[in-house]
């Protein structure tokens, strides 16, 4: 799967984009966030307050209970502030 980070989520994880096989047991967005938090301090900081992070899967806004499939494009970002 492809994971993309934007704005301060990108700055905190220190990663703009990464690609890896979907880990065993990572069946939904909540599980993915949990798994990512195990990858280091930057990720822990980024996801410290899950209410502050929004998620899109395959470029559609979703909730943390959204089921993941192999090959999904998952994006994490702060609440949007355009316009």
């Amino acid at each position: 799967m492809k994971i993309i980070y934007f704005a301060w989520v990108r700055e905190k994880t220190g990663t703009a984009e990464e690609t890896f096989e979907r880990p065993d047991g990572v069946d939904d967005v909540a599980a993915l966030i949990q798994w990512l938090k195990g990858r280091g301090e930057g990720y822990q900081t980024a996801f410290a307050d899950p209410a502050m992070v929004r998620v899109a899967v395959n470029q559609e806004h979703v909730g943390v209970d959204h089921r993941l499939a192999d090959g999904d494009e998952v994006a994490f970002f702060p609440p949007v502030t355009g316009g």
Binding site: E60, H61, D65, H66, A75, V80, G82
Partner: protein, 156 residues
């Protein structure tokens, strides 16, 4: 029509397209959002807009389609810039044309309200030599919510 671009746009040309050659248009409502020079009591020196290429276009096209589903419109337009902008520069243009003004006004406001909570843009503000990400405003959630039908970038 939607466009996501770094360059500025010609306001008159863009808005004229919503009625040119179509005399069934009775009114065109448009809104231009600009970079302000102040945030609270602090002076802003620049604003950088980041976005999510691909999803941005999808989100804006979806918002435009929703406007056409809700109101009898002749045409709509969303142009949103990204990259570094200075105070006074245009960020966004939304516009709607219709036979009647109520539809044009409602649709135009709907476009900007939904865009502000659904389109994946983020603002980085520079003030006093520091850069910081702009916080989302709860007033924008309230504005989007008055149109019903979808909770912005929160889970739906």
């Amino acid at each position: 029509m939607i466009r996501v671009q770094t360059e500025d746009f010609d306001f008159a040309t863009e808005v004229a397209r919503l009625s040119d050659g179509n005399a069934s248009v009775g009114g065109v409502c448009s809104f231009v959002g600009l970079v302000r020079d102040m945030a609270g009591d602090e002076e802003i020196s620049a604003m950088t807009l980041e976005h999510y290429p691909g999803m941005t276009e999808k989100a804006l096209a979806g918002i435009e389609a929703e406007a056409h589903a809700r109101w009898p419109l002749q045409d709509t337009l969303i142009i949103h810039r990204y990259g570094k902008l200075l105070p006074g520069e245009r960020i966004v243009l939304v516009a709607a044309s219709s036979a009647h003004r109520d539809a044009a006004f409602d649709a135009c406001r709907f476009l900007i309200d939904w865009l502000k909570t659904k389109a994946p843009f983020w603002k980085l503000e520079e003030a006093g030599g520091e850069a910081r990400w702009v916080d989302a405003k709860s007033s924008d959630d309230t504005a989007a919510a008055r149109w019903g039908g979808g909770g912005g970038d929160k889970a739906e």
